[in-house]
Symmetry: C2
Subunit: 312 residues, 2 copies
């Protein structure tokens, strides 16, 4: 039997680093970089980020598709995506840790009113703001999967009250959990800071609209580190202009890079980051990928499989 091969297809990630990390754990694996497929029959796994449409149909023995990122929505953009091959999420402890870092940073920045303090500094004005009481400040996480659960835990350790909202019921220690559209108003009404980590699916596209902002308290702060298309931009801009949302921190956008004429760039109540909330690391992600390759080669089901109907 020829050595099993993996096809790597990403313009944003380093094939040398990924290849080295995978082969360190599975020396018999051949790593080939798209479009150099070699003998297509050898390819059993694909590691992809925004792969070319139809590329995955070239491999008759493909048994596994691994998404090179937390959000799998780019995979479903391929209209020719093979139907029967399991797609798995990248579950990388460093990618998770990076997102927690981002959430903690921007929740604390909003809690400590850094945008107002920056404005005072620009005016050379000593503007004392007493630190708000963290124990009486509630952060609400939309999305309670691997990323949301980890961030919730660190926010609770720091001292915040934490709520969470998810599509399906979840239980997370120390987190007041809500689920489903019906419970969204009850979740939102007590939050001082709302953080969106939702995946982009048919159910979440444009979910955060004027109606959702209407359920927030006046002066709520908002962070979006999920996907841009989950938020209706005009609704967020209206909520910022009315003061319903006092400040928004945005890492993700409907179109990326965001066009230079978009209102977000110069809005005084918007802080933007260039979709860099977190990133995967080959050496910490490789064990899960190799484990899944070994599973499918042994005829077992891989772990962290995406539910195609739910879209995540």
């Amino acid at each position: 039997m020829p050595a099993p091969a993996l096809i790597f297809a990403s313009n944003s990630d380093d094939p040398v680093a990924w290849g080295a990390a995978l082969r360190a754990l599975m020396p018999e694996l051949e790593v080939r970089v798209w479009p150099e497929t070699g003998r297509v029959e050898d390819v059993v796994a694909a590691l992809v980020w925004r792969h070319p449409d139809g590329a995955l149909n070239a491999f008759p023995n493909l048994k596994l598709v691994v998404n090179l990122g937390a959000g799998v929505d780019p995979i479903f953009a391929d209209p020719h995506l093979p139907r029967n091959i399991p797609i798995v999420r990248l579950v990388d402890p460093e990618l998770t840790r990076g997102m927690t870092e981002y959430v903690v940073l921007h929740v604390l920045a909003l809690h400590r009113r850094l945008p107002e303090l920056a404005e005072a500094q620009r005016a050379a004005r000593w503007h004392y703001i007493h630190p708000a009481d963290t124990r009486r400040t509630r952060v609400g996480l939309m999305g309670l999967g691997n990323l949301g659960g980890h961030a919730a835990d660190m926010l609770a350790r720091i001292g915040f009250q934490v709520s969470g909202w998810s599509r399906t019921p979840k239980q997370v220690a120390g987190v007041d959990c809500f689920h489903g559209r019906d419970q969204l108003p009850a979740f939102l009404k007590d939050c001082d800071i709302v953080v969106c980590l939702l995946p982009l699916t048919a159910a979440t596209e444009n979910l955060i609209d004027a109606g959702v902002f209407a359920h927030m308290r006046d002066g709520t702060a908002f962070v979006n580190a999920g996907r841009g298309r989950v938020v209706v931009d005009d609704a967020l801009l209206a909520a910022l202009d009315s003061g319903r949302v006092r400040h928004a921190v945005l890492d993700v956008f409907r179109d990326e890079p965001l066009p230079a004429d978009h209102r977000y760039w110069r809005h005084p109540r918007v802080t933007m980051t260039p979709h860099n909330a977190t990133a995967g690391y080959p050496e910490t992600a490789a064990p899960q990928i190799v484990d899944n390759i070994r599973r499918v080669l042994a005829g077992q089901a891989p772990v962290n499989v995406v539910d195609r109907a739910a879209g995540y």
Copy 2:
């Protein structure tokens, strides 16, 4: 015997809130607000922040002076400070937690290059910066007392490598500890971000001078949440201008409020906060104060006594 009394002398703190928190735990305590001393013989304890010079000499039965803040340097500014009465630090778990929050916030902001990202946003420029590897980033804390130890623990939980430097030898789990002037260069040379939490004493005044900045790596980030007079401002400005220090976050200053013409205000590599890194809370600080009052009334030594020779 008349009820024991406490004299409260601070223009920055709320005497009603402090009185209520103390009397909730010690209903027999009378709380009097300076200058309404009442019968001076009743006063056994003083709770002060920047009290008037000589004020503490009015009370013949004074047995305890509690400083309403983490740094006790304002108390020693009184040339008539009674010599034989123990001075104790406020050890308030919420004040400690607040400082950790500040340190975590600004270390993450520097780690994630928020100043550069803000500049890119002002130019409507999509400027992708890959998140630096936290596991390979070292934060150095100058000062490893109650505040530094707590902050070090949270930084390690978040994923940073952590070093600490203190006057006397300390051991903190998960922290590479250095002490004394001789070990300062070895401590500094491996740090990516240096955080000063040192108290102001005769030994720390102007400690962070050109020589100290010379021992840092090029591009080190610096946070001062200790005391302004620990840093030689001209040396820091020179280090910022040369790039030795890539960015400074300053909460404390030689003179506060900082005069509007000071270079720090408009320096592009300086982020300022108005000495609001943390604050004490009456309800969480009161137990330690009441415990100390009971101790001195029973003839016992109080806890958390300031070492007058060391100045902290």
